[in-house]
């Protein structure tokens, strides 16, 4: 630690002057959610910074599904999980095979496929939602969870292909040559050489697509409507339609819904930050 000269103190003070507002700005909405989630119905709206009698009752009500908005809480939580995991797995499959073929097998037309993927990556999500909704209707997939899974794979895979292709190109080509000389087939090269070396990037894009699907609201609310098939995000949105919504239950449910992605993000932060910053914008 350096010495506390007046100049050093002034620097620290200036940094704190940025750091404290940044912290407040980030945390106030999150703290507000936590505050609601642990307040009883009467004290939730009292405007205090900390409830007089903090309680976990709201969580009990949510877990026991003791409110008509929460009739299918566990099922909807399961739907969110199932859809997110399916999207993660399918996206990984689609993106990894494509990136391998383009980067390592140098398939003809690979560049065109990359451009198609980039184009998709840049379409504003809400603009694709309307034609996607009509298309799912044409395919007879509306209200089936497949519609949401396939829509999210479509949205997640371009970015994942992009990141994986960037990472693939960095692997030394001598590895492939050595494998070829040993008589490896393309699939063996893929399975035995490529996949093990790509693990960090695979974790990054897998987590990315899983979180994207878990956090999605617009597509989920357009494509699914049955109470038993919707995700928890859509169920939370449905609270909005009531005049006297039970805010404290909504915030407790919201907190339960928001915690897994935050936890997963922190667990895989090491992989995610590298993948994201390398892939999102190449300078």
């Amino acid at each position: 630690m350096k010495r506390w000269t007046p100049k050093a103190i002034a620097t620290e003070a200036k940094l704190l002057l940025i750091g404290i507002p940044v912290l407040l700005w980030t945390l106030i909405p999150v703290y507000h959610m936590v505050l609601f989630a642990i307040s009883s119905k009467d004290s939730a709206t009292s405007g205090h910074l900390w409830p007089k009698n903090p309680t976990l009752d709201n969580f009990r009500i949510v877990f026991q599904q003791k409110h008509f908005y929460l009739d299918h809480f566990w099922l909807q939580l399961w739907n969110s999980l199932l859809i997110a995991v399916s999207v993660g797995a399918l996206t990984l499959f689609v993106a990894t095979t494509a990136a391998f073929a383009i980067s390592r097998l140098r398939v003809r037309g690979g560049r065109t496929v990359m451009n198609l993927a980039l184009f998709t990556y840049f379409i504003p999500a809400a603009f694709l939602a309307v034609p996607m909704y009509k298309t799912m209707g044409n395919y007879g997939l509306l209200n089936s969870q497949w519609s949401l899974i396939l829509a999210m794979v479509t949205i997640a895979s371009p970015y994942c292909i992009w990141v994986l292709k960037q990472a693939s190109d960095k692997l030394p080509y001598e590895l492939d040559e050595a494998a070829r000389m040993d008589g490896a087939s393309p699939l063996q090269l893929f399975r035995l050489v490529y996949l093990p070396l790509m693990v960090p990037s695979l974790v990054a894009v897998g987590t990315y697509s899983l979180l994207l699907a878990w956090n999605e609201y617009l597509y989920a609310f357009l494509l699914l409507s049955n109470d038993r098939s919707v995700t928890l995000a859509v169920a939370l949105g449905n609270f909005l339609s009531a005049d006297d919504s039970p805010w404290e239950l909504l915030m407790a449910t919201g907190l339960i819904y928001a915690l897994p992605p935050a936890a997963i993000y922190y667990a895989f932060k090491r992989y995610m930050v590298g993948g994201l910053t390398a892939g999102a914008v190449k300078s």
Partner: protein
């Protein structure tokens, strides 16, 4: 794509015929392995986009659209959103990226917390902000009441305030991501350049002006444009905060298309997206040029 030649120019003692057959086999597997993505693209991008354009083919849709006062308002709102929110967000991200590259133990902690809005799903966090703005019992107005004894404004009932808060929500949610990108950009600048500047007696502003900014400029502009494209598609910030209200005055193009869809006016819905294409496509073209070398 630069070293395509090495694939076939490997110094192999094997006969050339063998090599050709092997090459064909690898190309075959390559083709098989891009098929899953191509299928996804054709079935869920190409067909929907084509079908959407086909649904938007009637000129009268555009006449009806332009005659709808809500459409005009949405275009203005979208423009405000893009120009004001994006520029504020990117400038703040630029400043904060300088803060976050400073090495202090407590700044590391703040940077871990700072990512939360981006890592958490939109719906619970935006609803939390919405409740804070509730005119009767929201935390903002109850604080105003306690401090001054007067009732605070009905924030989301005023279209200008409601749109402003939608922009605040947008910035709150996406600022961490862009800060992270610019932090990565700053970390790539060699420290010797700053040391050299210090030796020359440069002030912090001069260090930014002559070292950081030249290195970050391209990344900053790319981020600005990508952020614009994505913000055009930001449905959540407006819909979850204001629902387009009051009186449909805070819609942006992203929520307007969905509004028409919910009213079963699919032709208007598609038309409202098609009119945005002259803005979107040049930006997309620019990004593709930048990223696909």
């Amino acid at each position: 794509m630069s070293s395509t030649a090495t694939a076939t120019a490997a110094p192999l003692p094997a006969p050339l015929v063998n090599l050709g057959a092997r090459h064909a086999r690898w190309q075959f597997w390559g083709a098989v392995m891009v098929v899953p993505y191509l299928l996804v693209f054709v079935v869920f991008v190409l067909y929907p986009v084509g079908y959407g354009l086909w649904l938007a083919r009637h000129p009268q849709s555009y006449v009806k659209l332009v005659e709808d006062p809500i459409f005009f308002r949405s275009v203005i709102n979208t423009a405000i959103f893009l120009v004001v929110a994006i520029n504020i967000k990117m400038l703040v991200a630029l400043v904060l990226s300088g803060f976050f590259v400073t090495s202090r133990w407590w700044i590391k902690i703040i940077s871990a917390i700072f990512i939360l809005p981006w890592a958490m799903p939109s719906i619970p966090t935006i609803l939390s902000i919405r409740f804070m703005l509730n005119p009767e019992w929201g935390v903002i107005n109850s604080t105003i009441f306690r401090l001054t004894g007067a009732d605070g404004p009905n924030w989301l009932n005023d279209p200008a305030l409601a749109l402003t808060f939608a922009m605040v929500v947008h910035v709150w949610k996406s600022l961490p991501f862009w800060t992270l990108i610019l932090v990565a950009g700053r970390l790539a600048i060699p420290t010797e350049q700053y040391e050299a500047a210090s030796v020359d007696g440069a002030s912090s502003w001069q260090k930014f002006r002559f070292v950081s900014w030249p290195a970050l400029k391209t990344l900053y502009i790319t981020s600005l444009i990508l952020s614009m494209i994505w913000t055009l598609g930001d449905f959540n910030s407006v819909y979850l905060l204001t629902g387009g209200g009051p009186a449909d005055l805070t819609h942006v193009l992203a929520t307007l298309g969905i509004r028409y869809l919910r009213l079963d006016q699919v032709d208007l819905s598609m038309a409202s997206i098609v009119v945005a294409l002259p803005l979107v496509l040049p930006l997309v073209y620019f990004m593709m040029k930048r990223l696909s070398k």
